[in-house]
Symmetry: C2
Subunit: 235 residues, 2 copies
């Protein structure tokens, strides 16, 4: 079965968490909005749905008759179908919990450049962004990454279960994104997160992902996505 | 089996979404931190975990050998075990997607009074809060509630599937919370959300929930929780 992924073209954004799972699984998928005429399809799906629940926002995924929205819901669904998730109920619940916590970190990274209004440009809310980013660097990045490091210390080489799962792919992506957006803040905590950095490297070296990351399917980070490099926000 | 719910005492907060599912299911549970000595247990569990993943934050739930954190993960787990969730894969995925979207709305409601730093009081970030709340009232409440109303129009009396699920209980709670925190803004959109308000009333009238809501187990909303009534934020 070929999946249809609906996400904004031109940015990694939250869609990238889904792309990583699809790529690592070796699944066939169409990145709909990056095809000719695809943005019209995405807009139509947002307006009218694809059957079932009308999504609030991209990303959403069509998997045969099933349409799934919300990044973590999509990643867990695809991960469970392709051996990239624990198979026992406790492990599945743990995976979703860690993935949702990473998603919270992603949302907070977004809010550093949009602390006031999502519908207005960064430049209109720069003063608040400077303050919010300071708290993010000083409190939140350390707290979230310590949570991931701690659970790696307890669980072993991967975050949940005994094999690489979609959760580890999400951890890779959030470390990459934070390193792009906040290189100085991330450099400063490197000594505290050796296991998380090792996991990031191990994920990046997986053959299918390494091929993906080197391909033009992997968009570069940029200042329209969630992780944006505004040096003034990096302290 | 008796569940152990770990959440901050004294506020509804995110824990309330779990309480509603447990109460409506008629499940036996201990609200740990509201028992004598319970806060010590909660703090110890946050520091050391309860086996498996160490939670990032409350709420988390012990269900026998399984420990689950993240509100939506807990609600879907309990809901699926007690007939308060769709039973088919597509329905389960749709339920999680809508529940996660409601959770996003809850997070945005929180950020109206804490737009800059979670570790500092509202009063220190009031100017930014006034701006953020304005955007929340003008853009975000209308967008999220329209999403819920739209899906009720398409699906029928409940948000997903054909029976009341944990998602509907969450919709009840977010409408109640927003009505507490933003009574004027909510009043203004009443004409646009008749189905959502009808769902709210239907959930509140369910016998077990009606008994719960009238009991002293249901804490009142207050200005330490997520939904806070600061009249200046209501325009």
């Amino acid at each position: 079965m070929t999946y249809d992924l609906f996400y904004w073209p031109g940015i990694q954004g939250r869609g990238e968490f889904v792309r990583l799972v699809l790529e690592d699984a070796g699944a066939e998928y169409v990145d709909v909005a990056r095809q000719p005429g695809g943005m019209k399809q995405l807009q139509a799906a947002l307006a009218e749905g694809l059957g079932g629940v009308v999504p609030f926002a991209p990303p959403f995924l069509r998997a045969g008759d099933v349409v799934i929205s919300q990044t973590v819901a999509i990643c867990s669904f695809v991960g469970e179908r392709h051996g990239l998730a624990p198979s026992d109920p406790g492990g599945r619940a743990a995976a979703i919990a860690v993935a949702l916590t990473i998603a919270d970190l992603v949302s907070e990274a977004h809010d550093t450049h949009h602390p006031i209004r999502v519908d207005q440009a960064y430049e209109t809310q720069k003063a608040a962004a400077l303050e919010r980013a300071k708290g993010f660097r000083e409190l939140r990045i350390p707290k979230f990454t310590a949570y991931l490091e701690r659970n790696l210390e307890r669980n072993g080489a991967v975050l949940v279960g005994s094999e690489i799962s979609y959760v580890d792919l999400a951890a890779f992506q959030v470390v990459e994104g934070l390193t792009y957006a906040f290189p100085r803040a991330m450099q400063a905590i490197h000594p505290k997160i050796p296991k998380l950095l090792a996991l990031r490297d191990r994920v990046a070296a997986r053959p299918r992902l390494a091929a993906y990351l080197a391909s033009d399917r992997r968009l570069p980070f940029n200042e329209k996505g969630i992780f944006r490099r505004y040096p003034e926000l990096d302290g």
